[in-house]
Symmetry: C2
Subunit: 201 residues, 2 copies
DNA sequence: CGCCGGCCGTGACAGGTGTCATGGCCAGGA
DNA sequence: TCCTGGCCATGACACCTGTCACGGCCGGCG
């Protein structure tokens, strides 16, 4: 019997996934949580063997949770299941110690198989995404550039970004200009979108 | 037996919802589609009685599908189930003839009950969202302003927006300026975000 | 040590953006 | 009929942005 924990912020999806996995005779859903920062405690008390993690969650992201689990409960295996198949996410998930990466476009009947493979110690990576991840390569942005770009995704004027980052407006513009150049964009909005689409921020 | 059709672009979620609803003895999932523009045909051939529609779908949005169903298959009832609980969505869904509106935060066990109520001819509206919808009121934007604002959400420069809308740059700036004023924003990016958060675009 | 590259800042310039005043066109209501 | 309000457009103005050149600080590496 494979003991599994579900982490997804949407209760309906979480419950539906539980129903789907409970159809399998060799899988048992032993815990469900809706926030990233509740996963660790729940995994510990429920003695889960596999954690199915969404990335976008309040509290902690699934990627951060995977890292936490590797450090605190190395025997537990993490399977990232997320809406957005961004190339950079795969790399970051693997770096964080995740054993698998699926997008929610995956046919439902493949989920149980993926869980079994992860439980058996194998890696499960969405094949399309794996190649795309290798193609796009690592982020060309420096840490600071990523940070500034993240503050620019909502279209705030430079003055606001500078204040939030405690920098001068000139420096912010320089970082943004560098990011725009590196991403091949012509606007900071475009650069932010490209960076997000690639999972760089 | 309630015959139900599922429309959601994420195969995993779709399959999981199917598993969840199949647990109910009085509900039968008779069709599943991943695109908005496939719903009508599938609803016809499967003789579905209730359509569970996500809003964000390729082809047609769930709101547009609800409108289509009301026109073509008035006996079929639409239940919108979506990720984003934006106030304006509720109003638009009801205007489009939907019989219910749920967010994916809803507890899983309430879904079947909602389906039954909709099938019985009752309206089902997320209570929090219903009040919020009444609070926020209708969109203050004119049709043209909404359209231009929609083209501005990705941060494109005015010149690009003007080209896409076949307008002069000056007109686009006027529309954007009006939208910024009406939404109480100070930037077109902020205005676009506000409009989207309220479901106006 | 010298060199490199990331980081922070300034200053200046061209071009994009937000605001306003003004005007014309057209459909709907008083 | 006149008047209102939405839509389209122009022009002018102040301000913001993106780019470039330049300089200084610091940590890592040959």
């Amino acid at each position: 019997m494979i003991r599994i924990l579900l982490a997804d912020d949407q209760a309906l999806v979480r419950g539906a996934l539980a129903a789907l996995l409970d159809l399998e005779t060799d899988i048992e859903v032993v815990a469900q949580v809706g926030r990233g920062d509740e996963v660790l405690a729940a995994a510990r008390s429920s003695q889960a063997e596999v954690c199915l993690l969404d990335i976008e969650m309040p509290g902690l992201t699934g990627l951060e949770v995977a890292e936490q689990l590797r450090a605190e409960l190395p025997a537990v295996r993490s399977l990232i299941v997320t809406t957005f198949g961004r190339p950079g996410y795969v790399r970051r998930a693997l770096d964080a110690g995740a054993a698998g990466f699926l997008v929610k476009d995956t046919p439902a009947r493949e989920l149980a198989a993926a869980v079994r493979r992860v439980h058996a110690g194998l890696r499960v990576i969405d094949p399309d995404l794996a190649t795309e991840s290798l193609m796009s390569g690592p982020s060309p942005l420096t840490a600071r550039e990523s940070e500034i770009l993240q503050l620019a995704i909502d279209g705030s004027p430079v003055a606001v970004i500078a204040q939030r980052a405690s920098l001068s407006v000139g420096t912010v513009r320089n970082h943004l200009s560098a990011a725009i150049g590196k991403t091949g964009a012509t606007t900071r909005a475009e650069a932010a979108q490209l960076a997000r689409a690639n999972g760089w921020i």
